[in-house]
């Protein structure tokens, strides 16, 4: 018996059993050939059907409370689920905006009525959700949005234009911020609205790789009932920031995705064997090390949350020119610290894929651009998957708040440097 509190990487019996269950279910149920691309009509149907299959098996939203179709698993077990999911190369989650971004916001700020009405449908992909933050004139400077919600009987009328909205072309509903007052931050309200109603026009936008992954949304007096305001009127900024921290943090891009990709990269490199350019092997190693660092870091976070720790003792007064002490992680500093995670995973993703393409050499460009899957064609990824994955990875430093914005947030909110004049 080791003393309580000893560091270890062992899984308890329950977590072992959970991993085994997930692994074996995925082994029998993940389709043997890739689903059609998610942004095509057939792909849309197939990916929705896959979500229903997951939900029926009780594996769609394992971290949610049982009341909403979840299994209430621990943060660590959620990480394990994600590892297995990506390892099995299961289909891309068509409803990730809903599952990973809106749902945590509903748990934090929604009413019981909203949760009961929206979450079970979300878990089965009966409603697929899109995010509607960005506008043509408001990207990084999100508080500069102009789309507005005007008060009407029993609700609000939305007008304006949203853009770069992932999956909006096929989604049923969307959530985002709308201007309801003049104050830059305290005049914004968080609203959920239907994409398939009168007054909404969605125009798909082709991405760099050819797929129509995102879309513009034009809104002309679209009615939204009061019941679909999330949080208080004019308090949308605060509510939205909690979603943003989920997007930047573990929830959207969990480590399992990168440990799986790093594993495939190693196999790709091993397959190349003696033909592999020796100069590339350090980058393979560094990619694997970084993916593991992210995984271990998340284990640290999960096991810190799980154990009741007393608050850190205040540092003893030090001399101005001597080291201070910051404790075992800088990431205890609340939501802003997830900015560190976001920069780390997005840079890691680009790095892993760049090495893979360099290993593939002149074959890299022959990858088909529209497989629409997280990857396929063999244990080591396959050209299609690496090329698609590369293009996708390049968006990581841009979406969810660009990495420049994140570095500024880290410097100011985590490290305490003086704020920019804005």
């Amino acid at each position: 018996m080791r003393p309580a509190g000893t560091m270890n990487l062992d899984l308890d019996d329950e977590t072992h059993a959970f991993r085994a269950e997930v692994r074996s279910w995925l082994a029998t149920n993940v389709p043997a050939t890739p689903l059609p691309p998610v942004d095509t009509p057939e792909g849309d149907l197939a990916h929705r059907a896959w979500e229903r299959q997951l939900a029926t098996a009780g594996l769609s939203v394992v971290s949610w409370p049982t009341a909403y179709g979840g299994r209430d698993v621990s943060p660590l077990q959620w990480l394990i689920f994600e590892e297995e999911y990506h390892r099995a190369r299961a289909p891309v989650r068509i409803n990730q905006n809903g599952l990973f971004l809106l749902a945590p916001t509903l748990f934090a700020h929604g009413t019981a009525e909203q949760r009961a009405r929206l979450l079970p449908r979300m878990a089965r992909a009966d409603d697929v959700w899109a995010q509607a933050w960005s506008e043509p004139e408001a990207g990084s400077d999100l508080a500069g949005i102009r789309s507005r919600a005007v008060r009407t009987d029993g609700g609000w009328l939305l007008s304006g234009q949203k853009t770069w909205s992932t999956r909006a072309a096929q989604a049923d509903r969307a959530f985002g911020l709308f201007r309801t007052g003049v104050d830059r931050h305290r005049g914004l309200t968080y609203l959920m609205f239907d994409l398939r109603v009168e007054g909404v026009t969605v125009r798909p936008i082709q991405q760099v790789g050819g797929a129509t992954g995102f879309a513009e949304i034009f809104l002309d007096q679209v009615f939204v009932p009061d019941a679909d305001v999330l949080g208080a009127v004019d308090q949308g900024w605060t509510v939205a920031m909690s979603t943003a921290s989920h997007e930047r943090g573990l929830s959207l891009r969990s480590p399992g995705r990168f440990t799986a990709a790093a594993g495939r990269l190693v196999r790709l490199w091993c397959r190349a064997g003696a033909h592999a350019d020796p100069a590339l092997s350090d980058r393979v190693v560094d990619g694997w090390v970084a993916a593991r660092a992210y995984q271990l870091h998340s284990y640290g976070t999960a096991t810190r949350e799980a154990t009741d720790r007393p608050p850190e003792p205040p540092p003893p007064p030090g001399r101005a020119d001597r080291p201070t002490r910051t404790g075992p992680t800088m990431l205890s500093g609340g939501g802003h610290a997830t900015s560190m995670t976001k920069v780390f995973w997005s840079e890691l993703d680009v790095a892993l894929h760049e090495v893979a393409l360099d290993l593939l050499g002149p074959d890299a460009e022959t990858g088909g651009l529209r497989t629409g899957t997280a990857g396929w064609a063999g244990d080591d990824g396959g050209t299609d998957a690496w090329l698609d994955g590369y293009l996708f990875s390049l968006a990581g430093p841009i979406y969810a708040g660009t990495n420049e914005i994140q570095r500024t947030v880290i410097a100011e909110r985590v490290l305490g440097l003086p704020r920019d004049r804005r």
Binding site: A4, G5, T6, M7, N8, L9, D10, L11, D12, T15, L76, T259, V266, C270, S281, D282, V284, V285, D286, W288, V289, A290, R292, A293, Y294, L296, H297, Y299, G300, A302, T303, T307, E312, P313, P315, P316, R319, A320, D321, R322, P323, R325, T326, P328, T329, L331, M340, V343, F344, E404, Q406, R407, T408, A411, E412, L415, G416, L417, P418, D420
Partner: protein
């Protein structure tokens, strides 16, 4: 699963921090470099009183038989304060070497004295640790290769970029052990030393980040603190990210050493690679953000800068550690 320090470990680190802050290590280190090791030896004795010297020593020989994570946590704090002296050698590598060799007579002679702080020890193992640091001011000097372990006879002192590291060439002294047990024990000692070295690097990198943040908040140019310039902010954000994501590798390597010996080489190398890279980034950035004052000794930054430059290349170079990881990955050890 647990990959975060316990409340006791936090308290232990905080106690070390308080003691080392009080001891004014920068002054102690300057005197250590200037042939006056006495104040440093006092600090080392205090560390022994707090249990640091005996963490890796079995209870049977008067130590605490602590978990490797405790060694890592302590060494990080020692690196944080740029403590002079053979930290990786005396606290981690020598106890590992002697314990693994399993020669009771040797253990009985040296381990209790290492644990109590009566003896500080150092070690040279070519090619990774070619010189014994501080061999001229400590009382146990060993010299090992794959087949033999000997006492080392201190010879000429070499210059180190970090002049608080008293690098000494050692010649062969009395033969202690020879035979097939030596190679594996030396390999274990190198791993333990590399892990301790990685922890020191992380601590030193953190110290530079903290110092540089303070400076960036105070130094004014163009009518504003330089820490308000985005170019400076982004450099420091990247330093923070590098350090933050290196530490879990350190903890995992300690866990491997305790529970999964077959993975220890790979995981210790991953920790060393990440900590050395993160610390070197911290050093480069600290110097850049300080401008000329950082380049001047009067800033005191040099203690941490030179320590990082030295430690990043000893106990196995980055290339050597990457090579060990590569070998493990090629063998399919991915999880």
């Amino acid at each position: 699963m647990r990959l975060t320090p316990s409340a006791e470990q936090e308290q232990f680190a905080a106690a070390l921090h308080a003691m080392l802050t009080e001891a004014d290590i920068p002054t102690v280190a300057r005197r250590w470099a200037a042939d006056d090791p006495a104040p440093g030896q006092v600090v080392w004795r205090r560390l022994a009183e707090l249990g640091v010297a005996g963490l890796a020593v079995p209870e049977r020989w008067g130590g605490l038989a602590a978990h490797p994570a405790d060694v890592v946590i302590a060494c990080e704090e020692l690196g944080h304060h740029a403590l002079p002296g053979p930290v990786a050698e005396s606290i981690a590598a020598l106890p590992m070497l002697l314990t693994t060799l399993g020669d009771d007579a040797l253990c009985e002679t040296w381990l209790p004295r290492l644990a109590s702080g009566e003896v500080i020890g150092t070690l040279a193992v070519a090619p990774h640790v070619p010189y014994a640091t501080d061999a001229d001011v400590v009382s146990l000097v060993l010299r090992a290769d794959e087949r033999t372990l000997r006492l080392g006879v201190p010879g000429p002192r070499l210059r180190s970029v970090d002049d608080t590291r008293r690098l000494v060439e050692v010649a062969d002294g009395a033969l202690l052990v020879t035979g097939p047990t030596v190679g594996p024990a030396v390999a274990h000692a190198l791993d333990a030393g590399a892990l301790a070295c990685a922890a020191q690097l992380l601590g030193a990198g953190h110290a530079l980040l903290e110092t540089t943040l303070r400076y960036a908040g105070q130094r004014t140019q163009f009518g504003q603190p330089i820490g308000q310039f985005q170019a400076v902010k982004h450099l420091l954000a990247d330093v923070a990210i590098g350090l933050e994501f290196a530490r879990p590798l350190l903890y995992a390597a300690a866990v491997a050493l305790a529970d999964h010996p077959a993975m220890a080489a790979r995981d210790i190398s991953a920790a060393k690679v990440a900590c050395a890279d993160a610390a070197q980034r911290a050093a480069r950035t600290a110097l850049q953000v300080h401008g000329a004052i950082g380049y001047a000794r009067e800033s005191g930054l040099d203690l941490w800068l030179t320590r990082i430059w030295a430690l990043a290349r000893t106990w196995g170079t980055q290339s050597w550690h990457r090579d060990r990881i590569r070998t493990a990955l090629a063998a399919g050890d991915l999880t």
